[in-house]
Structure formats: structure tokens, C-alpha cells
């Protein structure tokens, strides 16, 4: 049993997340490696939402299409996941469970036939009777459902009850009734024989892992990296990042500002970072559009700034609560004029934590805007990760002058001094040193406005040299390869000499599905079927490093670009820099991530077919 997938579905606001949070946390504490993936519409109550959990024998980072169980909170959810359909990507596998609480529900004859053919086990929970017996309100159905699932997975009640208790630690009066509801759901026995679902083997090491969303990890990473101020304006999928740093502000002392708009959020953060703190801002594409004039200004005044750009499908309001990788062009081209910048992308919960410090170090070293891309998938998926290792974090403030003897030796014209690497000394207001003018007009080294030919040229060259300096310093993309019969992934420092049958190229959250599939392909049962597959993952997207790509591409039998956008945006940049056009492309732009089976089957097929027509 390589993975078990179950999905809780219903209307938004019915308590899907509550059931999911309880069950996933309890599973993790029991040593199961669990991954959570949410789908929901852009509204508060109603619509159709789903929270899917995939439990693996190793790391799981992507959702499957085939489901072992569906728990439907409303009747719409009952028929949606039977068979492959246009409504939902996922469906029940042969022998799957369909659990529901819809009274007097009658399946159509066709549905009944399908249920019989597919040996789907339909289980009805008389939730209203159970609630009545408990004299409990409807909201308690969440705990009943959670406990029923818990029993179905063959687990022990006390651990689940402990998690339930923790959920109500601030509402102690509600604990007792919730514990009773848990018992009710756990001891319920449906009609007929219902065999338990066998989960993949648990491991003790996973019990102490974190179960954390990407946005929570970015928030923790920001706190850890010394970010002392966060500004934002609510916009999915960045809102929950604002929410997390706001929730923890009394513990961290961070200044939180929900601004009147994204222009303000960007400018306030820029003003604060200019003063020498680390003030971060985050948004999604539409909000980032408004921030772009600030990105340009940061480029000019050479102040450090990190922008988190959480992608969701556009254009315009687009598909607000779904995922995409459609804003790479936006990040690379944002802002008028030419100036150096760094664009990097988070891929999962782990680098969500570590890349914040990295982004700030780059921003301060090169005194440039850094755009940290993420997306709805990363932002809201639950990742099962070992606790973050703080010893890996370095705080590098670059050429920031703070020592009094060095400050007193500064001259005002040192601030934008023309240097070989383009980087000048930086000091901040309040420092006992000569002041300078951080001028959004073109300027001489002390910030005085100039429109003369030579200083305009010199200053442009100075700034753009930082881009060259940065490009030299950035690492080449990481290579992951499938080892024969060993599903371990190797990130090779010197992997350019690999002769690959298939070279995959990608960035961002797509890495999750790719790594899951690479592990699958490395299993003995798949030996030789897909050939030797490697995945070249770009964390640093601009400036773009291409040497490893060129070397690997030259030796690979096939190169396949995989991106969650329409144009293959990374592919466009690679072609621009190398002249190499990647002809085989797996592109997805329907708001959904690459699902596990979808990518696996694409790679097992002799030729590539589009993942969706």
C-alpha cells in the first residue's frame, strides 16, 4: 500500500477544515506521513470544497486522483467523486468508501449499478440521531465524523481525544461534549461488514514532525530571519501569511500593518526597510501589479526589499482560490526601467521556511528588490516536515555599515559609490554619519539629481553590474535523479555528467508532484519502465543560470518542460538565454496542480500527451 488518499467534501463553511485538521494532526502524531491539499471556491458559505489527505509510506507531497475514501457532508458531494468527471479531478477507486450523513438518500439506478460494479462501500452515519442523543448542536458533527474516520483507520481513541482537547483549550466548557461526540463517532458501527482501511506503515520519527502549511512556514521563516515588520492587504493566497504573522505578533513583537492597499503595503515596507529593519510585504498577482512602481523605486534607491508573490490563476480576478505558476513573467519584468533584481521561488514547506532568510540576505547583499514566488498550492497545503533546523540560517546584511569608526569615515558620496561589483556601502538614517539622498531621480554617488550623460550611464552600469555579481554567486539549479530500484532522491552537486533518458525541467510547487513520481518510478515494480529520469529544479529564476541545463540537455535523450502555466514561461527564458527550445512540454493552467497519477502516467507513456485537453 504505497499511499492512502481520503477526501472530505461539502459546502464551504460546513466544517471540512475542522475535521481535516483533527484527523491529520492525530494521524501525524501516530507516526503517519500525511499531506493535506485543499480545494475551495472564493466564497464563505456554500459552493463545493474539498480537503484531501494523502498518507504515504515515505514522504508525500502531492495529491492523488484515486481516492480510497470520500466523506461527503452534503448530497452534492455524494455523486461528484464516483467516476472520472468534468466536475472533479479525483474519484473513488475500486472498493473505495463513500461515507455520508444524507438522510433518505437514494442513488439513481445508474449510480447503484456503478457502485456495485466498483464495489464501492456506501456508509451512512445517522448524524442527526447521534447529535440528538448527545443533545449537541450540528457543529459537533465534525468531531463525530473525525472519530468515525479514526476508527475506520484502525486507530486508538485516546490520541484523537487528546487532539480534540487541544482544539478547545481556550473553550474548556466545550471539551466534555466534544470528547463524548468523539466517542460516539468512534463506537458507531454501520450496517453490514465494513473492513478497516489499512494505512501505510507509520514511523516513530514522523510523530514529532511538523504539520504545517507553506504560508505558516514562510511566516515562521520570516520571524526566524529577523523580519520585524510585515505589511499586506488581504488577497488569496497571501492572506493566510498575513494572518499567521498577525496571530503570532504578541509573541514575536513584530509590527503588522494591514494597509489600505498594496501600494501602501509596498511603500511602508520599503520605508521601514530603508531605515534598516527587515520589513516584508506579501500579496498575489493583482496586488503585486500595484506594487510594481515600488519595485522599480527600490531598484533605483538601492534599498533591500523582499516581496512575497503568492500566485493564483489570472488574468484579472481569475480563479482566486486555486493555484498556478503564471506570474514568473510578471516577477521578472515588474517595474519600469532597467534595474537588477532577484526572483526566486519557494517549492514546498521546507524551503518556504529557509528561503525567506536567503531572500533577505540577497536583498541586503545586493541592495535590490527580491521577489519570492509562491503559490496557492504551497500556501495552503499541509506538509509533514522535520522541525526546521535553525543552525542552517545565516543572517547576512551585506555591506551595511554599523560600526561607529567605519561610519565616521564615510563620506556622503560613498552611498552610491561606483564599484567593480556594483555594490556600495549602505548605512541607514539614525547612523552618526553624513546623510545622503536616496533619490528616485537618477543621481550622482551622493544622491544628487543628475541628467548628464556620463553619470547617468555610469550609474546604470553600476547598478546593472550587481546583476552580474549576483548571477555569478547564485547556485545552478538542483538536480534530482531516480536511482535504480532505490527511491531515494539525490541532489547532486556535480550532476552535469548524467546521461538521462528523460530530463524534466521545472520550478516552484511542481517539484512536489515530480519528486513523488520520481520516487514511484524508482521502485522495483517500475524498474526500467521510464528509463533514467532526472529533474532539474530552479529555485533561483532570475538572473537565470543555464550552464547545468545546457550540459544536461545535451546528454539527455528527452527534455520535458513541466510548468503550471500556459506559455511555459521558464522555457521561454531558457530559450531566450540558450537558443534551446524545449519541444516536449507538460503545461497545466486550470488552477489545479499536477496530480500524482497524471504525471506518473505521462512519464510512463512512450510519448507525451497533454495532461488536459
Amino acid at each position: 500500500m504505497s499511499r492512502v488518499s481520503f477526501r472530505i467534501v461539502g459546502a464551504s463553511g460546513q466544517g471540512i477544515n475542522s475535521i481535516g485538521d483533527i484527523v491529520s494532526k492525530a494521524l501525524k502524531r501516530s507516526g503517519y506521513n500525511v499531506f493535506g491539499y485543499r480545494e475551495y471556491p472564493s466564497l464563505i458559505v456554500g459552493g463545493h470544497a474539498g480537503y484531501q489527505f494523502d498518507i504515504g509510506e515515505g514522504n508525500v507531497r502531492s495529491p492523488a486522483i484515486l481516492l480510497d475514501a470520500v466523506l461527503a457532508l452534503n448530497y452534492q458531494g455524494l455523486t461528484r467523486y464516483f467516476a472520472p468527471s468534468a466536475n472533479a479531478a479525483q474519484y473513488l477507486k475500486d472498493g473505495g468508501y463513500l461515507i455520508h450523513a444524507v438522510e433518505n438518500w437514494k442513488f439513481s439506478e445508474a449510480d447503484q449499478k456503478y457502485i456495485a460494479e466498483m464495489r464501492i462501500k456506501v456508509i451512512f452515519l445517522p448524524i442527526h440521531v447521534m447529535l440528538k442523543e448527545l443533545d449537541a448542536p450540528l457543529v459537533l458533527q465534525n468531531v463525530i465524523f473525525a472519530a468515525f474516520l479514526w476508527e475506520l483507520f484502525g486507530q486508538e481513541l485516546p490520541l484523537l481525544q487528546q487532539v480534540v482537547k487541544e482544539q478547545f483549550v481556550k473553550k474548556p466548557k466545550l471539551i466534555d461534549i466534544n470528547l463524548k461526540a468523539a466517542e460516539k463517532g468512534f463506537t458507531f458501527r454501520p450496517e453490514g461488514e465494513v473492513p478497516r482501511i489499512t494505512l501505510p506503515a507509520p514511523k516513530d520519527e514522523w510523530k514529532d514532525h511538523l504539520l504545517i502549511t507553506g504560508n505558516e512556514a514562510i511566516g515562521l521563516g520570516a520571524i526566524h530571519a529577523g523580519v520585524r515588520m510585515y505589511t499586506g492587504y488581504p488577497m488569496t493566497p497571501a492572506s493566510s501569511l498575513l494572518g499567521y504573522v498577525a496571530k503570532t505578533q504578541n509573541a514575536t513583537g513584530m509590527v503588522i500593518k494591514q494597509a489600505e492597499d498594496e501600494i501602501t503595503a509596498a511603500q511602508m515596507a520599503a520605508g521601514a526597510s530603508f531605515m534598516g529593519t527587515r520589513a516584508m510585504t506579501g500579496t498575489s498577482g493583482g496586488g503585486f501589479d500595484l506594487m510594481t512602481e515600488t519595485v522599480s523605486m527600490i531598484g533605483m534607491i538601492e534599498s533591500p526589499q523582499v516581496f512575497v508573490l503568492g500566485q493564483r490563476p489570472g488574468p484579472a480576478t481569475g480563479v482566486p482560490t486555486w493555484t498556478t505558476q503564471g506570474d514568473l513573467f510578471l516577477a521578472v519584468h515588474a517595474g519600469h526601467g532597467e534595474f537588477p533584481r532577484c526572483v526566486m521561488s519557494v517549492s514546498d514547506g521546507l524551503d518556504a521556511f529557509h528561503l525567506v532568510a536567503d531572500a533577505w540576505n540577497i536583498a541586503e547583499r545586493y541592495q535590490i528588490p527580491v521577489i519570492l514566488l509562491t503559490d496557492k498550492y504551497i500556501a495552503e497545503c499541509l506538509f509533514c516536515l522535520a522541525p526546521f533546523d535553525p543552525s542552517k540560517t545565516v543572517i547576512d546584511r551585506g555591506n551595511l555599515v554599523t560600526k561607529s569608526e567605519e561610519l565616521s569615515a564615510l563620506k556622503t558620496e560613498d552611498r552610491y559609490r561606483v564599484t567593480d561589483d556594483g555594490i556600495s556601502p549602505r548605512w541607514v538614517p539614525g547612523s552618526i554619519a553624513p546623510g545622503y539622498n536616496a533619490n528616485s531621480d537618477e543621481h550622482t554617488p551622493d544622491g544628487t539629481v543628475t541628467e548628464d550623460s556620463k553619470p547617468v550611464r555610469d550609474m546604470m552600469r553600476k547598478r546593472m553590474r550587481k546583476m552580474e555579481t549576483l548571477e555569478r554567486a547564485l547556485p545552478e539549479p538542483e538536480l534530482y535523479v531516480v536511482q535504480d530500484a532505490a527511491p531515494r532522491l539525490a541532489s547532486l552537486a556535480r550532476g552535469d555528467q548524467q546521461d538521462l533518458d528523460v530530463l524534466l525541467i521545472g520550478w516552484g510547487s511542481t517539484k512536489n508532484t515530480v519528486l513523488d513520481v520520481l520516487e514511484e518510478l524508482g521502485k522495483a515494480s517500475n524498474a526500467g519502465k521510464a528509463g533514467k529520469v532526472g529533474y532539474l529544479h530552479y529555485t533561483y529564476l532570475w538572473p537565470l543560470k543555464v550552464e547545468r541545463f545546457k550540459a544536461l540537455h545535451a546528454r539527455a535523450k528527452r527534455t520535458i518542460l513541466i510548468e503550471g502555466n500556459y506559455q511555459g514561461q521558464l522555457g521561454v527564458f531558457l530559450r531566450e538565454k540558450t537558443g534551446i527550445e524545449i519541444k516536449e512540454r507538460l503545461l497545466k493552467y486550470d488552477g489545479r496542480p499536477f496530480f500524482f497519477e497524471e504525471l506518473r502516467d505521462a512519464l510512463l507513456a512512450p510519448t507525451l500527451s497533454p495532461v488536459h485537453a
Binding site: 520585524r228 513583537g253 492597499d261 521601514a272 515600488t294 539614525g430
Partner: protein, 296 residues
């Protein structure tokens, strides 16, 4: 430059960069008053940040030396300066913007700056037009006036700037005129001492493009509230009435200062209560061990 912490003088705010304003421009007076206020308050230049918007006044950013300055984007200086003031409350932050930046391009920022009561001074260079782009109308230009790009007179109604500001519950409102440097200096000093958002409207001559609001025209109309018997600048309703009504006479001076001003934005931040360090000083690796436990 002598960096010892002696009493600062006007020379410490000097730069040889030549001024580029028109003869008779009100910017000269404001330029002098800002430097005088900082000097008289004995602010060390390194403790001062002057933040300028775009426009003729914005070119002041390199006509003042010694202190830290920023010359930002059009309409956006308020949020930038607010971010700066919050990050390091030990630095005295003054932002300046024209009537175009403040009531057209960035009026939303003004609304929220007053409402948020950021700890900073704001100087409105109010000359009733866009000087640098050669005389287009701003939202404060009188309706019907013929301006560059409005040959038939501007069709929009004029914003009553003081009415708008007073509707936002300000904690400090003053008005000066650009030809009266000592008076402006006094207002700026009061503004710097104010703990919240100090809004200072300076009626500024633009001899090139504003032929109506000349210094002569202003002199005939302005009166100082501090010279008016019984004027109480802590009386909000009275101050609002006096500030808004400019039909015959124009009141200048410290028009309103809250007797017991509400806390400024920074003082209202619960996580900052009792903190003696600034968020600039606090940058460094923070331990997140406790925070991680929530996810276990």
C-alpha cells in the same frame, strides 16, 4: 563635516547644490523654515529624515544637506515616510508633498495617514497646481479655472482640503504661508514635538502658474489665529469651522491640536508595548522553537 555631537547650526543642513526653483517660488521659504526648525530644535542631522514627493518641492531633496533624505514616487511619500517613522521612532521624520500628490494621486494615503495618526510631520506644499509639469490643475485648483490641459476651465468641483482633513479626526492641523519663514518655523517646531500625525498646510506662491494666489493676494487675506483673542486651538469644532472657511479671510497658525491626543499608530501596537528597542535594532536571528510546537 564635523560629526561631533555639538549644537547643530544651519550650516549642518547646507549643501552647495544650487536651487532650481523659479524666482519668487514659495519653496525657498519652506526650504529655509525646515532647516531653521531642525536647527532650533537642535536636531542632529543624522537623526532627521526628510522625505519628499515628486514635484518642484521634491527637488528640495538635494538642496538640503547633512541629514538623510529620500525622494520618492509621486503620490507615495506618505506611506514610505510612515514606514520609516514606525521602523525607527528615534528618527524625526518629515514628509512633504504637493497638492497634486496629496489630493489627487495619493489622496487615499492622506486619508489613512490622518486616520492612523502616524508619528510624523507632513508638509503640504499647497500652490493649487502642478508646477513641475507646467501648470495643470490639481484637486485643490478652483473649479472653472483655466489651466494647462484645461483650456475651458476645469469641470470638477474643488476639494475642500481642510474639510476633508478635519473629517478624519486629525490630532494636529496647522496652516502657514510660504513668505512668512519665522511663522512656518514655529509651526514646524510644534509639528515635530507632536507625537502623532502633524498636518501642516503651507499656502505657497507659484508665481509662474498660479496668478491668483500671489503673496499679495495672501497677505490681504490671512490672519494669525494666535493673534485672535480667545482662540482655543484645542476646540475641534471651532478649529474646523475656522480652517474650512476661506471665503473672505484665511486663518493661519496652529489651528488645531488635540488637548489629549489619542495614541499614535506605534503607541497603539500591542506587541510594541514596553519595548525599548526599535525594529531596526531588533533585526537578527529569532528563535522559533516555541512557535514550532503548535504544528507538532
Amino acid at each position: 563635516m564635523n560629526l561631533e555631537l555639538r549644537k547643530p547650526t544651519m550650516k549642518d543642513y547646507y549643501t552647495p547644490t544650487e536651487c532650481t526653483w523659479c524666482d519668487g517660488c514659495g519653496d525657498y521659504g519652506i526650504w529655509s523654515a525646515i532647516r531653521l526648525a531642525c536647527t532650533e530644535l537642535e536636531y542632529q542631522p543624522h537623526d532627521v529624515l526628510l522625505a519628499f514627493d515628486i514635484g518642484c518641492h521634491g527637488n528640495m531633496s538635494d538642496k538640503i544637506g547633512g541629514c538623510y533624505r529620500v525622494h520618492g514616487l509621486h503620490g507615495r511619500i506618505l506611506p514610505f515616510a510612515a514606514g520609516a517613522a514606525i521602523a525607527n521612532p528615534k528618527v524625526h521624520v518629515l514628509a512633504a508633498g504637493g497638492d497634486g500628490a496629496t489630493f489627487s494621486e495619493g489622496v487615499n494615503h492622506l486619508v489613512h495617514a490622518v486616520r492612523s495618526n502616524y508619528p510624523m510631520v507632513f508638509v503640504l506644499h499647497n500652490n493649487g497646481n502642478y508646477g513641475l509639469t507646467i501648470g495643470q490643475a490639481s484637486a485643490l485648483t478652483p473649479q472653472g479655472m483655466v489651466m494647462n490641459s484645461s483650456p475651458n476651465g476645469i469641470p470638477e468641483a474643488t476639494i475642500n482640503s481642510m474639510d476633508l482633513v478635519f473629517s478624519l479626526a486629525p490630532t494636529f492641523v496647522a496652516r502657514g504661508v510660504s513668505y512668512d519663514i519665522p511663522h512656518m518655523t514655529a509651526l514646524l517646531k510644534e509639528g515635530f514635538k507632536h507625537k502623532g500625525f502633524a498636518y501642516i498646510d503651507i499656502l505657497q506662491a507659484c508665481p509662474t502658474f498660479n496668478k491668483q494666489m500671489t503673496n499679495k493676494w495672501l497677505r490681504e487675506r490671512v490672519y494669525k489665529v494666535e493673534e485672535t483673542a480667545g482662540y482655543d486651538p484645542t476646540n475641534f469644532e471651532k478649529a474646523r469651522k475656522v480652517a474650512v472657511d476661506t471665503s473672505e479671510k484665511i486663518a493661519i497658525g496652529l489651528l488645531y491640536t488635540a488637548k489629549d491626543p489619542r495614541p499614535n499608530f506605534y503607541e497603539n501596537l500591542v506587541p510594541r508595548k514596553g519595548k525599548t528597542t526599535t525594529i531596526v535594532e531588533e533585526v537578527g536571528k529569532q528563535d522559533v522553537t516555541e512557535l514550532m510546537k503548535e504544528f507538532m
